[in-house]
């Protein structure tokens, strides 16, 4: 335990911990990262590609790396005068590692041809896809986001209300709980074949599946949150003249919110999985479909690009949910470890 506290109370350190002064550390860290990006740029631009390969955008990729290198070097020097730039120093080790990774990737693909094509295209091939095929990718992101949002919100809303109902009403608990127990653990994707012929469109079928995947954890955790509310909270509200409605809305639900958020996180994770499967198997749009389509054409660079965008989309949404929780449950700070 004391080790944990030490860890927290210690000031933020970067990977370059050996240099004492923050300004010096920032400068050295920044310059090291800039140098690494220069290396990546130079390696891409001046090391000739393997003879039979023909990559467009090699120059552009090198230029982008060089630009980033210049920007980092500038920020490193600016950090001597302006502390704002010193904050970048936290990122320096990661930026450096990323540059080295890209350089190595470039070397083993385009330059040395050690990895087999078309499965392992060089970085500039992915840049090429994002620039040349951005229309289709953007449409894919929009389609996925629309499907995901519809399904997630529907599932979260229904799950939340069901959870409150089971937690609150004995009758609802009696009827819904066994159904939930029986059907809930079934992965939502198991319903896929059925959903696609029962529902009028593949979109509505996928909305249903995503809602199902989201709804189950939200229901179970909302329910356990409501059921676990300290009964004295109710006693207090009752002696102060609270109605049933007040007990549900102002006592049970706020008290259950920390649990509800755990459910929402799990539900969101589930919804990603269902989304991709649904898009791969039925829906003719979205990033999942794009992945499938790219594989059909053996366009592996397109696949990596779609995976990259999907990772941004998913982690962005998780971050968004974290922000929302931090806002709504700020009262928990200090009660639990964040």
């Amino acid at each position: 335990m004391s080790a944990v506290i030490d860890e927290v109370s210690r000031p933020q350190k970067s990977g370059f911990g050996v240099f004492a002064r923050p300004a010096t550390r920032s400068l050295i860290g920044g310059l090291a990262a800039a140098a690494a990006w220069f290396v990546a740029a130079a390696l891409t631009a001046f090391w000739p590609d393997k003879i039979e390969s023909d990559w467009a955008y090699t120059g552009n990729f090198a230029a982008a790396c060089a630009t980033l290198a210049f920007a980092l070097a500038f920020a490193a020097f600016a950090g001597i005068r302006f502390t704002v730039f010193q904050r970048l120093q936290r990122l320096s080790p990661w930026l450096l590692a990323l540059a080295l990774f890209l350089a190595a990737w470039e070397a083993v693909t385009a330059k040395l041809g050690l990895l087999p094509l078309p499965f392992f295209p060089p970085p500039q091939a992915i840049v090429e896809v994002i620039i040349d095929d951005w229309g289709r990718l953007a449409a894919g992101i929009l389609a996925s986001a629309r499907l995901l949002a519809t399904g997630f919100f529907l599932g979260a809303a229904v799950g939340f209300m069901t959870g409150v109902a089971i937690g609150w009403s004995r009758l609802a608990g009696y009827w819904i709980h066994p159904v939930l127990r029986f059907i809930g653990p079934l992965p939502a994707t198991a319903w896929l074949p059925l959903a696609f012929f029962v529902f009028p469109s593949s979109f509505s079928a996928s909305v249903f599946l995503i809602a199902l995947g989201t709804g189950f954890p939200v229901t179970v955790l909302t329910w356990s949150g409501v059921a676990g509310v300290n009964s004295t909270y109710y006693d207090i509200a009752r002696t102060l003249g609270a109605t049933q409605r007040f007990l549900v809305l102002k006592v049970a639900i706020p008290a259950a919110m920390p649990h509800v958020f755990v459910g929402l996180f799990m539900g969101l994770g589930n919804s990603f999985a269902v989304l991709v499967v649904a898009e791969m198997l039925g829906v003719k749009a979205g990033l999942g479909w794009y992945l499938q389509w790219a594989q059909g054409w053996a366009a592996y660079a397109n696949m990596y690009a779609a995976l990259l965008l999907m990772a941004f989309l998913c982690s962005g949404l998780i971050t968004l949910l974290f922000r929302l929780r931090d806002r709504l449950l700020s009262w928990q700070k200090g009660l639990v470890r964040w």
């Binding site: 509200a237 002696t239 102060l240 003249g241 006592v251 706020p254 009262w331």
Partner: protein, 262 residues
Amino acid sequence: MVAAIADDHPVRGSTLTLREVSHRFDLEGQPLPVLDRISLQVGRGEFVALLGPSGCGKSTLLRLVAGLDTPAVGSLLMDGREIEAPDPSRVVVFQDPTLYPWRTVWRNVALGLEARGLLRTHSGRIEDALRLVGLTGFANAYPRQLSGGMAQRAALARALVNDPKLLILDEPLGQLDSLTRITMQGELVSLWQRAGFTALLVTHDVEEALFLAGRVVVLSQRPAHIKAEIANTRPYPRRRGDPHLAELRHEVLAHLGLDATW
């Protein structure tokens, strides 16, 4: 400040009557008697302490008075009317302050007014109640930021803001350190004197009961029945060193069978 709260209610405090109240719990199919024919008459504005060993059923009795549970046998009347359900005129202060952690102190104190739809018209009372318990500067604090004593004060304000006729105190100072407890005992007496509500205190602290109450009701082991009623006519504010209180303490301990060490 209490006067501000009290103005619209000229009649202060209520009477409380317990008629042959018995109660039992169901423990794995076995009936477990907790209260045994308890009869008690509490006058308007009186401060009565119920004193008894731990687990004797004192808190159960308070839940019945609050209307949170109904007795197996017998009846409880407040101002001559049967107690059937909780009512904001009878407010309980529990042993644990149990403030809602997601609400600020102000919003915790506002709870009763909000529940009855009076928040808009009577929100001024919240400031009054917070001033009364000395928490004016903490209106926007969250419960986790309060010490034990401050949290219990906030719980007291949450009760007082409803202008109760009967304040039910379930070992409200039981979890405080002894120094804070002494301070809060004095504060409870002055609150009671100013606001004029009827107070029913459950405690297992003999000294606390004698320092606060005008009458101490001694309960037996479970199932609880009334062993003795001891009137305590010493004027307020009382002094802890009062030899008369020490005599009464001896008497109470004798009723509890604990006077061997006197």
